[in-house]
């Protein structure tokens, strides 16, 4: 009789263990899928944010550049004016261009191209970091899942319930492994 009870207890314990391990493998598999999709979240953010940000900064820089260029041209014209009426007309043009420049300087007390470019830099760095950390997290959690599947007692039930090892994130294009060249010289087109 006692033997029968032991047998029942052993079977029950086994069932409990199988259920617990199966549930933990399911949880890990879902976290791995989630991790993979989180990379896509960051990629989409990069895709949506960066082109708009670059255009905004370029637009602002161009606006400042155009205003400054108009002032320079007006000044050159005024300096090379011949005759009083001509000089007066060209000085008027210069004054109005300068007024536009002063308005610009008043509205943006520090000419902000530098600040905008710095903010853009920070956003670019942060976006790329987020993508790479999302990939790192995916690799970490996929490794954890693979280890959990392959350790000894659990591997007996893992194949039974069709758990497959997760693929780690890997670079497929060899060119991405090369060191990028950084060329800051100003003479290239």
């Amino acid at each position: 009789m006692i033997i029968f009870y032991f047998f029942v207890a052993a079977v029950l314990l086994n069932v409990v263990w199988v259920v617990a391990k199966y549930n933990s493998l399911i949880t890990l598999r879902n976290v791995v899928t989630n991790g993979w999709k989180q990379i896509d979240v960051q990629l989409k953010r990069r895709h949506d944010l960066i082109p708009n940000l670059v255009n905004t900064v370029r637009g602002q820089m161009q606006f400042e550049q155009e205003t400054l260029e108009k002032v320079i041209q007006a000044r050159i014209a005024a300096v090379s004016a011949k005759g009083v009426a001509d000089a007066a007309a060209k000085e008027d043009v210069l004054s109005s261009a300068l007024t536009k420049l002063f308005a610009l300087v008043e509205n943006y007390p520090t000419l902000r191209s530098n600040e905008n470019v710095q903010q853009l830099q920070e956003e670019l760095t942060s976006t790329e970091n987020k993508i790479s950390f999302a990939r790192q997290f995916y690799n970490d959690i996929a490794t954890k899942f693979n280890i959990a599947q392959q350790l000894f007692p659990t591997n007996t039930i893992a194949s039974m319930f069709n758990f497959k090892t997760a693929e780690l994130f890997e670079i497929k294009i060899d060119a991405e492994r090369q060191v990028p060249t950084v060329d800051l010289s100003l003479n290239k087109k």
Partner: protein, 318 residues
């Protein structure tokens, strides 16, 4: 670990309540009177523990004068970006980020679980560290959240504070009791109560806070090493935290914004005393943080810059 501490705390306080019941109501013989004090202290202890867990950290945060991080300021925007990167690497939700105005470098984190937590950094730390070093510090704090250290530390901070409060109240009450016994002299027997009073006072005022503090210290130090290592696992760059700790260690100014009771949740000891840097066994038992040099050496060993360190080896001249 949190469960052990909370159970210990509630048990000790309930026992103290029981002892008071015995004094006030006599030992139960035939009729058992309602143990009022035991129920009261048990209920209070449980209530305080729950409150300490869920809202204690908000009070502590306010006491440091922390201000929510402002995304318009470039350095604070960088801080917010770094915290977001680390939360992606750790797979956790985003904590609330605060900045404390202080001339000392420090960072701290508190809360009850990853969904309800906050992180604070002093503004001089933001100014002086590079982005990589800041990332190392934030990774260390994020690991505290990931390992649920914050829950443990927050509960200890609030419980220790409340035990002190309770034991003060009890000694006040007990002193009054002794005086009234002397005045009334209602009969024999009261003189045997005095050693009991002293024992209860001893337990309540001296031993329990000390026990809790020692447990907090021991746990806190090992958790700091663990948080260093987990932070390095998040950034894969232990050298960045090592150089951040070097910068932090160079200044000896105490962090004035952070009060004594909350010392053990910061990244380095905010009191500015050299106590934590000694490597003997007293510092091992009573210090809140491990010696800074040892932490830096461990991190640099992780980064393969120096040889791996044995746990109790004497410091080698580099």
């Amino acid at each position: 670990m949190t469960a052990i501490i909370v159970i210990l705390y509630i048990t000790v306080l309930a026992l103290m309540g029981f002892a008071i019941d015995v004094l006030l109501l006599g030992l139960p013989n035939d009729e058992v009177p309602l143990p009022v004090m035991t129920i009261l202290t048990f209920g209070t202890a449980t209530g305080l523990a729950i409150r300490g867990l869920y809202s204690g950290w908000i009070a502590v945060l306010k006491s440091t004068g922390a201000v929510a991080a402002n995304p318009k300021d470039p350095l604070q925007k960088q801080l917010l970006d770094v915290v977001e990167e680390m939360k992606i690497a750790a797979g956790l939700p985003m904590p609330k980020v605060y900045v404390i105005h202080d001339y000392d470098f420090n960072a701290l984190t508190m809360g009850s679980d990853p969904q309800h937590c906050a992180m604070a950094v002093t503004d001089s730390l933001l100014k002086e560290t590079t982005r990589e070093e800041l990332q190392g510090v934030i990774a260390h704090e994020m690991s505290h959240i990931r390992n649920y250290d914050i829950r443990l530390m927050t509960i200890i901070a609030s419980l220790v504070g409340e035990v002190v409060l309770i034991s003060d109240t009890l000694t006040g009450r007990l002193k009054g009791r002794i005086e009234s016994s002397v005045n009334c002299s209602t009969g024999g027997g009261w003189i045997f109560m005095i050693p009991l009073y002293i024992i209860i006072w001893l337990i309540g005022v001296v031993i329990v806070p000390v026990i809790l503090k020692v447990m907090a210290m021991g746990v806190s130090r090992n958790r700091e090493y663990l948080a260093d290592a987990s932070g390095a696992e998040l950034t894969r760059n232990p050298a960045s935290l090592a150089s951040a700790l070097r910068k932090i260690g160079c200044d000896r100014i105490p962090t004035f914004s952070i009060k004594r009771g909350t010392a053990h949740i910061c990244i380095v000891d905010p009191t500015g005393s050299g106590f934590n840097d000694k490597e003997g066994w007293i510092a091992e038992v009573f210090g809140t943080h491990p010696p800074l040099l040892k932490r830096i050496r461990n991190l640099e060993a992780m980064a393969y810059r120096i040889r791996p360190q044995l746990p109790y080896a004497p410091p080698t001249p580099n």
